[in-house]
């Protein structure tokens, strides 16, 4: 009981402390608008990566349509926030939650055909759904079609993204370490054995897939109110792949890894700006090199924990290993 309380206090204090430091740095202008934008994108990428990690890293189903759910969330939130009359913060929260719910609803519908398939067939089907969502958005009036949707209210701020990201990561962390999380992981390990010890694989596959889509939708809503202009091209399958890169780079089934990799992948292209038109070439070479030298992801099995760090040791999480076959 006592150690639990201590852990909670340490975690909460650190989260608030980091927040205060960052806000102070923004206030005194050390972090300018440009860097604040990068921080916001980091948060959005973290939400996208940890949610995809649930479906791909923990549940073990390779999905290539995450950008589709992000798109549903982004457009829904943007369209709703322009039509509702609320103060800024509740307006943002209500619209991104509704965007997330619609994304989750579509994921729920897709789960039936998707989970009849296995492995790479499943991956391609999710890619197909993602592309269909994009083409439908491209052909709708309310979304602005190919011209894009502009005039979105600037509701996303550093503070909102920071706290929503923290809440998201916490939710995924506690979920994974509950009986429901164990059920999800057992499906990745061996579907037949999972079913044979009393786990409804259909229920948990649908649940994990839908929950991942919900948070992709939320990330989309934050993205919309940050960029203020939406173009269907922002959500093509390359976008889904970018999110997958973060997940694999951080390590499948490793939340800390996803967070770290999301930060790196957000900063990397900016750091390489100095190399002018060589930047994307260097980025690709780095990506290949990282996979060649660290095929299990940056952190492999290790989960980072603040409490562990403060007591001088790194804690290895038993139930969050790297799976060898990503899409069996």
């Amino acid at each position: 009981m006592n150690s639990r309380l201590k852990a909670n206090i340490i975690n909460t204090t650190s989260i608030i402390l980091i927040y205060i430091i960052l806000v102070l740095l923004i206030r005194i202008g050390f972090i300018n608008n440009y860097y604040e934008g990068i921080l916001i994108e980091m948060g959005i990428n973290i939400i996208l990566a940890v949610s995809l990690n649930l479906a791909t890293g923990y549940l073990g189903q390779l999905t290539l349509g995450h950008a589709g759910f992000m798109a549903i969330g982004a457009y829904t939130a943007a369209i709703l926030s322009a039509r509702m009359n609320l103060p800024d913060l509740p307006l943002l929260l209500v619209s991104i939650v509704l965007g997330g719910l619609l994304a989750a609803f579509f994921a729920f519908l897709m789960a039936i055909p998707v989970f009849r398939l296995r492995g790479d067939y499943l991956a391609i089907l999710t890619l197909g759904f993602g592309e269909i969502i994009r083409v439908i958005i491209l052909n709708m009036k309310i979304t602005g079609g190919g011209k894009g949707l502009s005039g979105i209210l600037p509701l996303t701020s550093f503070s909102t993204v920071y706290f929503i990201t923290v809440i998201t990561v916490t939710i995924f962390y506690t979920l994974i370490n509950s009986r429901h999380g164990r059920a999800i992981i057992s499906i990745r390990e061996d579907e037949i054995a999972a079913e044979a010890v009393g786990i409804s694989t259909k229920y948990y596959k649908t649940f994990a897939f839908t929950l991942a889509a919900f948070f992709a939708g939320v990330a989309g809503g934050l993205f919309a109110h940050h960029t203020l202009v939406l173009d269907p091209k922002d959500f093509n399958f390359i976008r889904s792949i970018e999110i997958l890169i973060i997940v694999v780079l951080g390590g499948m089934g490793n939340l800390t890894g996803s967070v770290l990799a999301a930060i790196i992948i957000t900063i990397l292209p900016r750091l390489l700006m100095g190399f002018a038109d060589w930047n994307m070439i260097i980025y690709s070479v780095l990506l290949i090199a990282m996979m060649l030298f660290k095929p299990g992801g940056l952190l492999e099995k290790r989960e980072f924990s603040l409490n562990g760090l403060l007591s001088g040791k790194k804690k290895s999480q038993g139930n969050t290993p790297v799976k060898n076959e990503g899409s069996e």
Binding site: S178, R179, S186, E189, A196, I199, G318, K323
Partner: protein, 252 residues
């Protein structure tokens, strides 16, 4: 009433009838062996009983209820669990987690309680942790609790799979070749373990086994199948003398 009763159970794959006219009764706390030559359909029977395959004919009554058409996980909830011929552990998870997962359907706290770590979460997780450790102790595996399952020696992996099947709280336990790949010493220990399980947990056990010393040594009753049909049932002594059985094994 028998714990398990099958009535004219059968399955055909395409035109091939893998199991047919399969009628058995197993009472509570009975220890029964299912034997037969390779390819006789023993594992297919297990797959039918556990809902992995849908029978094309017949019915399965468990505690008087027809369980045909139920999903494997629902059949676990009813009280039948199993092990696999080619061990199926959650390989990358620890021994303890393998067992904990099997307690899943006995736990009640909701997804929200898990995410927000409400009291129910802490209470049940603590309970489960203790129960899982107790179970591992029975199998003398408590020291390996935090070992990754795939790093266990082969015999231990078989034991863990049995422990996991027991964690799901069965009334009938199906063991598919539990002694496969074990040396005589390990087999002897396994026989003791199986006896112990039956007495301690007061459950019925149906086991497939090729090791005749094991089957004859511990089973109270033996069912012999060949080409998907029952050719004999009886006590080990009766089976040993049965002409049909000898024929099936010697290939008459």
């Amino acid at each position: 009433m028998a714990l398990l009763e099958t009535k004219d159970l059968g399955i055909a794959f395409g035109g091939l009838r893998a199991v047919g006219d399969f009628n058995i009764k197993i009472d509570e706390k009975e220890l029964v062996g299912l034997i037969g030559p390779n390819g006789a359909g023993k594992t297919t029977v297990f797959n039918l009983l556990t809902g992995v395959y849908l029978p094309t004919e017949g019915a399965i009554y468990f505690n008087g209820e027809n369980i045909v058409g139920k999903k494997p996980f629902e059949i676990v909830e009813k009280g039948i669990t199993r092990t696999f011929q080619n061990i199926r552990l959650f390989k990358d998870l620890s021994v303890l987690e393998n067992v904990k997962i099997a307690f899943h359907h006995k736990m009640k706290y909701s997804i929200a309680a898990g995410i927000f770590r409400l009291n129910a979460y802490w209470k049940e997780e603590k309970e489960i942790e203790e129960k899982a450790m107790e179970l591992l102790k029975l199998f003398d595996m408590q020291d390996a609790a935090y070992t990754t399952a795939k790093n266990l020696p082969y015999g231990q992996q078989r034991k863990l799979e049995i422990a996991r099947a027991l964690a799901a709280d069965p009334k009938l336990l199906l063991l598919d070749e539990p002694a496969a790949g074990m040396n005589p010493q390990e087999t002897k220990e396994l026989m003791e373990t199986i006896h112990f399980i039956r007495d301690k947990f007061k459950i019925a056990i149906l086991l497939i086994e090729h090791d005749m010393s094991l089957v004859m040594g511990i089973c109270e009753r033996i069912i012999v199948i060949d080409y998907g049909m029952i050719i004999a049932t009886g006590t080990p002594e009766e089976i040993k003398r049965n002409k049909k059985v000898i024929g099936a094994y010697l290939g008459e």
